[in-house]
Symmetry: C2
Subunit: 151 residues, 2 copies
DNA sequence: TATTACGTTTACGTTAACGTCAAGAAAAGA
DNA sequence: TCTTTTCTTGACGTTAACGTAAACGTAATA
């Protein structure tokens, strides 16, 4: 515990580091996601707060709502909960995992399609004049994407 | 073109098939994402409309807004556009791709964490009585997750 | 001392993506 | 023909995640 665990951060420091606004940080506190201590009236964020924030933002990126994120962060509540509650959480976790896996497949598909689009645009950009040959290539691309639409 | 390309769908058929509401479908039309033909006043969706809808929903799943999805679906407009506009779209595609790749990494991390959580809960569920040994395991888990919080 | 920077709370505004009536037309089955 | 179902077009309501503005306190700096 001799590391930088005792370092503290102001609201604007954290805001800049994570490219969010101070308003968002205050909002997260209102929602119970963060609980920074106070020096007088001013918020003081610890290293733990910063770590929680990192998890919050990652949760957001993968599509969790702030409410869901808060619930997941409160793993302590699971630790001391009833077996029924435990089973409920297990189900929710599994559901989440499946949704995430589906999302990953969708993302892979989307990336592929976007890269196809990029390649096509680059090829088109390489030529300066829109020749007839290009127009036929364009038509080919359209046919391709149309083909992909079916099925 | 002898396939089922001529099959048509009612609004509720499509709604049920994709587990969305008729309201959503009308909304997508308002937004210019779908353009079903009409039989009198009633909407008639073609196979192409259905295919576009599939793409819309996939776009949604990976985090695109409806506006973005509509722009991407209108690839025709790119086909006949200026080189500057082409470059703009190229940039936007690349930005999207990077965002998607980051999102993929986040999802992988999230899945891992959730699966760790599942494993822990299952292990805990296996025992009926919360023994002392379990409590120590719980503490170990907490320490572990705390450790992961740092850095 | 005056200004600038940074912080606070309170509260109303905004956008996206629909939900939810209301009120009526049209088609399908009994 | 009567009834039920499915469809239509408004139009207002809702939720999440902040944005934005007001009005003020405090602290460092010129």
């Amino acid at each position: 515990m001799l590391n930088n665990a005792s370092k503290t951060y102001s609201i604007s420091e954290l805001a800049e580091e994570f490219s969010i606004t101070a308003r968002a940080l205050r909002f997260y506190e209102d929602k119970g996601l963060l609980t920074p201590s106070r020096h007088g009236q001013t918020r003081v964020f610890s290293a733990a707060d910063r770590a929680r924030l990192r998890l919050v933002l990652r949760g957001k990126r993968v599509g969790f709502s702030l409410d869901e994120i808060r619930e997941m962060l409160d793993l302590e509540s699971i630790t001391s909960d009833s077996p029924q509650h435990l089973g409920l959480w297990l189900k929710r976790f599994r559901t989440r995992i499946n949704a995430l896996k589906q999302q990953r497949r969708d993302i892979d598909d989307a990336i592929e399609e976007l890269e196809t689009g990029c390649a096509w645009m680059e090829a088109r950009q390489a030529d300066l004049e829109p020749s007839e040959e290009l127009k036929s290539r364009a038509r080919a691309f359209e046919a391709l994407s149309r083909a992909r639409l079916e099925h």
